[in-house]
């Protein structure tokens, strides 16, 4: 396979452009779903919510403003073909992610959100220990590199994250009890800014369980389905159920209550049954920057991140 050499400057551009575009342009699948909901929603308050979301989204795109002032925690997912070489080695990804996030913050494209957890002192740059997150995955099936930026809002992350270890005897009933409790609790009073994309992770270890729940919520586009029929059917069943729950936009009632439900599972220890839950907000911000062998950089809203 021909080698793809990516310069340090290109890595920076991919990091900077993807996160600033994610913060200002609504993904096309999210936009078309909200417009579809607006067309059929008959609750007056719910319609007002959806109209305001669309008006703000238009202003963000036309005037380079932000989709939401809470630009959240800066997360990057990088998918790399085996033929890719990066100037300075792959650790360049970490350094350029920090530079890009600090610059985007200085330019008012990201709000300075990241603070020391105990002193609460703001780093001012959104950069510090462990953040921005740069999750790297090597993929033998591709000959390009993707940088996926996800500015993950605080509402959905803080109010919409749950984890529980149960046991085999708790079974599917236990899983569904956990999931329904999470949905009810997290959407109350619009805490997670519904309609959400809900990510459910089942199995694995504690960290894998939370990781696949989170990735299901923030990286899988609306309408994508798990390849196994049983899981895909459960996803669709839950979508229909939550839509009929009356939660509505910002938890204020209506028929537009959820954008999608994505379930991922991992094999797990025979003694346990961990389950994780993560909600993504109604803007579901994400942007993919791709560099291909011809040296072209393209942008999309479809991460194709899953590896099962």
């Amino acid at each position: 396979m021909r080698e793809l050499f990516v310069t340090r400057d290109t890595v920076y551009d991919m990091m900077y452009n993807s996160i600033t575009m994610a913060a200002t342009i609504m993904p096309s699948d999210v936009k078309s779903t909200i417009l579809e909901y607006l067309n059929r929603e008959n609750n007056e308050t719910a319609r007002l919510h959806l109209e305001v979301i669309m008006r703000n989204c238009e202003m963000a795109e036309k005037e380079g403003r932000l989709l939401c002032p809470d630009t959240g925690s800066p997360l990057y997912y990088v998918r790399i073909g085996d033929n890719v070489r990066v100037e300075g080695g792959f650790s360049t990804l970490y350094g350029e992610a920090k530079k890009a996030v600090a610059k985007a913050t200085a330019n008012g494209k990201l709000r300075p959100n990241m603070v020391h957890p105990i002193t609460r002192e703001n780093t001012g740059t959104n950069v510090g220990y462990y953040l921005p997150k740069v999750e790297v995955r090597f993929d033998p099936h591709i000959d390009y590199m993707d940088v996926i930026a996800v500015p993950k809002g605080g509402g959905s992350e803080i109010f919409g994250t749950f984890y529980r270890v149960m046991y085999p005897a708790d079974g599917k009933r236990g899983i569904m009890k956990f999931v329904l409790d999470c949905i009810k609790e997290s959407t109350y009073a619009g805490k997670t800014c519904p309609p959400n994309i809900l990510g459910i992770g089942i199995g694995g270890t504690a960290d894998i369980c939370m990781k696949i729940a989170k990735e299901a919520a923030v990286l899988r586009p609306i309408g994508s389905r798990h390849p196994e029929k049983e899981i895909a059917d459960l996803e669709m069943e839950l979508v229909e159920m939550v839509q009929s729950s009356g939660i509505g936009p910002m938890g204020m009632g209506g028929m537009s209550s959820v954008l999608d439900v994505h379930i991922e599972y991992a094999v797990t220890h025979t003694a346990g049954l961990p389950v994780g839950f993560n909600a993504q907000c109604s803007l579901s911000r994400r942007k993919v920057a791709r560099i291909t062998l011809d040296g072209n950089m393209t942008y999309s809203d479809s991460p194709e991140w899953e590896y099962r």
Partner: protein, 209 residues
């Protein structure tokens, strides 16, 4: 849905006339704050030099601000979740004599009692309103504690014009809009639990019996 336009400072009578679900637009000056405002105001008695009689609406928000030619401008600003400040909510309402709080979500039982007492409402957000709200700010009048707290947690003082829409989530009669919505949601969820055979007394396996 009654649509009501009010000027700040709000008068007690007009606040007491409001009901949950009313749609509100506002004119006049507001001040901002988040977690650190609450903690400092109550635990350390540190307040910004703001005339709380003239500015009796507190906005829970961390605006994205840029400075152009020495003048601050909001790029985007949408209220943050008020429910996070519930521990300090009632004390701040009483201490500042607030007539209104603007924030995402809602507040809890203790704040609701204080609101009834003082004559204060909670106004919740409509949709994601960061850009429309920023465009309804006519002037940034002042900023306090910027060096100490940073741009997100600092107290900004801003003049609003026809800002909104906001929806009354807690009124002075002790009612909460979300309680009303949630009664319906709870009913539907009962059917969902039943569908998966989850009874009311379901318990997970207890490994510390």
């Amino acid at each position: 849905m009654a649509e009501i336009r009010l000027s700040i400072p709000l008068k007690e009578k007009e606040v007491r006339d409001l009901e949950i679900g009313d749609v509100i637009y506002l004119d006049g000056p507001i001040f901002t704050g988040r977690s650190l405002f609450h903690i400092r105001a109550i635990d350390e008695n540190i307040l910004p030099p703001v005339d709380f009689k003239k500015m009796n609406i507190f906005m829970h928000i961390g605006p994205v601000m840029v400075q152009v030619n020495n003048e601050w401008r909001p790029v985007s600003m949408a209220p943050t979740s008020s429910i996070r400040f519930e521990k300090y909510g009632a004390a701040v309402i009483r201490k500042l004599g607030l007539k209104g709080i603007i924030g995402k979500t809602t507040m809890g039982a203790e704040s609701t009692v204080a609101m009834k007492e003082v004559g204060c409402v909670h106004l919740t957000v409509v949709g994601v309103m960061g850009n429309t709200l920023a465009s309804q700010v006519t002037r940034v009048l002042n900023v306090h504690f910027l060096d100490k707290l940073g741009k997100t947690e600092a107290t900004w003082v801003m003049e609003l014009e026809n800002a909104g829409p906001f929806i009354v989530s807690i009124d002075t009669h002790g009612k909460n809009l979300f309680h009303r919505v949630n009664r319906e949601v709870e009913k539907r969820f009962e059917d969902f639990y039943a569908k998966y055979g989850i009874s009311k007394d379901f318990t997970y396996t207890d490994v510390n019996p």
